[in-house]
């Protein structure tokens, strides 16, 4: 099953991935990271919906997303 790993310490919370994810499996986290941003997080309850299309990783300006398939 494809899934993504978001480096929450590198994420700056621009939410491009949230906007462009075609399956809506990324959301804004409620916990901030060390730098004070609220990072994006993968919704693990819906991880079977991820298709590994790499759209989130292509749009991530901080290269904080790795995609596994």
């Amino acid at each position: 099953m494809p899934y993504i790993v978001i480096d929450s310490e590198r994420c700056k919370g621009c939410y491009f991935c949230v906007k462009y994810c075609p399956r809506n499996v990324i959301r804004e986290s409620t916990m901030h990271n060390k730098t004070g941003y609220f990072p994006a997080e993968f919704i693990h309850e819906q991880e079977d919906r991820c298709t590994g299309c790499k759209t989130c990783a292509i749009m991530c300006p901080d290269t904080a997303i790795e995609v596994f398939k």
């Binding site: 310490e9 590198r10 700056k12 919370g13 621009c14 939410y15 491009f16 906007k19 462009y20 941003y37 590994g52 790499k54 759209t55 990783a57 292509i58 749009m59 991530c60 300006p61 901080d62 290269t63 997303i65 790795e66 995609v67 596994f68 398939k69």
Partner: protein
């Protein structure tokens, strides 16, 4: 389970200094991917201009030369003439290239220097605090045009990709955007094409990338994406303005 997307090897594992949602990070990654794909890391030299791109040497494991304001194409000329086997790219913003270094880039292009310029157009001076640049859109409010840019006093925004395409020494001139996945994929192809053309010694190549500066536009990152789509692309049309197919020097 295979890793199908990860940081390119030519981009160091270091947090960037860019603001949240700044598409400089995407441009950096596209260039690193192109360097990896063409296998030219050992002989690539980058030349950032002055601006938010100035810390390029923090993020790329390649040789980097720091150029004074706007003089990156002039430095690239010297580097390429001294070491013609190297791949030289300049990475400049719009304040750097379209304002301070206009003459340098025009003459480097007109001489047909075999270098590549990546031109990040975000329509303001980003690093210095959002002053008006030559590329600022009409009516856009900046710190030095608080009532909006007016063509009667400040003139019209400058379209560099079209202007450079008229010069004979230019082999490839294109404008891409970095605000949707589709446009980022197009930009990736343009970056690879520009470096390939330099490798084939075709002449001067320039890739203009429409980028966001949400901090100085005073909007959120997601609103900045909409501003590129609704305000910048109508004035700065995307497309390839010049593409040589062979070494057809006059």
């Amino acid at each position: 389970m295979n890793r199908i997307f990860q940081r390119p090897a030519s981009l160091l594992d270091r947090p960037t200094h860019f603001c949240p949602g700044c598409t400089h990070g995407i441009a950096h990654r596209l260039i690193a991917e192109a360097i990896d794909e063409l296998g030219i890391r050992e002989r690539t030299i980058g030349i950032p201009g002055v601006g938010c791109c100035v810390f390029l040497y923090h993020y790329f494991p390649i040789d980097v030369l720091e150029a004074p304001h706007g003089r990156a194409p002039a430095c690239a000329t010297g580097m390429k003439r001294a070491q013609p086997d190297k791949i030289i790219f300049a990475y400049q913003g719009d304040g750097d290239m379209a304002a301070i270094g206009t003459s340098e880039v025009i003459h480097a292009a007109n001489r047909g220097e075999n270098v590549t310029v990546f031109y990040i157009n975000n329509s303001v001076y980003g690093m210095t605090g959002g002053q008006m640049a030559p590329t600022t859109l009409l009516g856009q409010q900046t710190t030095t045009s608080p009532y909006g840019r007016d063509f009667k006093s400040e003139g019209y925004p400058i379209r560099m990709a079209e202007m450079l395409a008229t010069l004979e020494g230019v082999c490839y001139s294109t404008r891409v955007a970095l605000h949707t996945p589709r446009h980022v994929n197009q930009a990736r192809k343009a970056v690879i094409k520009a470096l390939e053309m330099q490798n084939a010694e075709m002449g001067f190549s320039v890739v203009e990338m429409l980028s966001t500066c949400n901090t100085n536009w005073r909007v959120t990152p997601l609103e900045a994406i909409d501003m590129i789509e609704n305000e910048m692309i109508p004035y700065y049309p995307l497309g390839v303005f010049k593409e040589r197919t062979g070494k057809d020097f006059l």
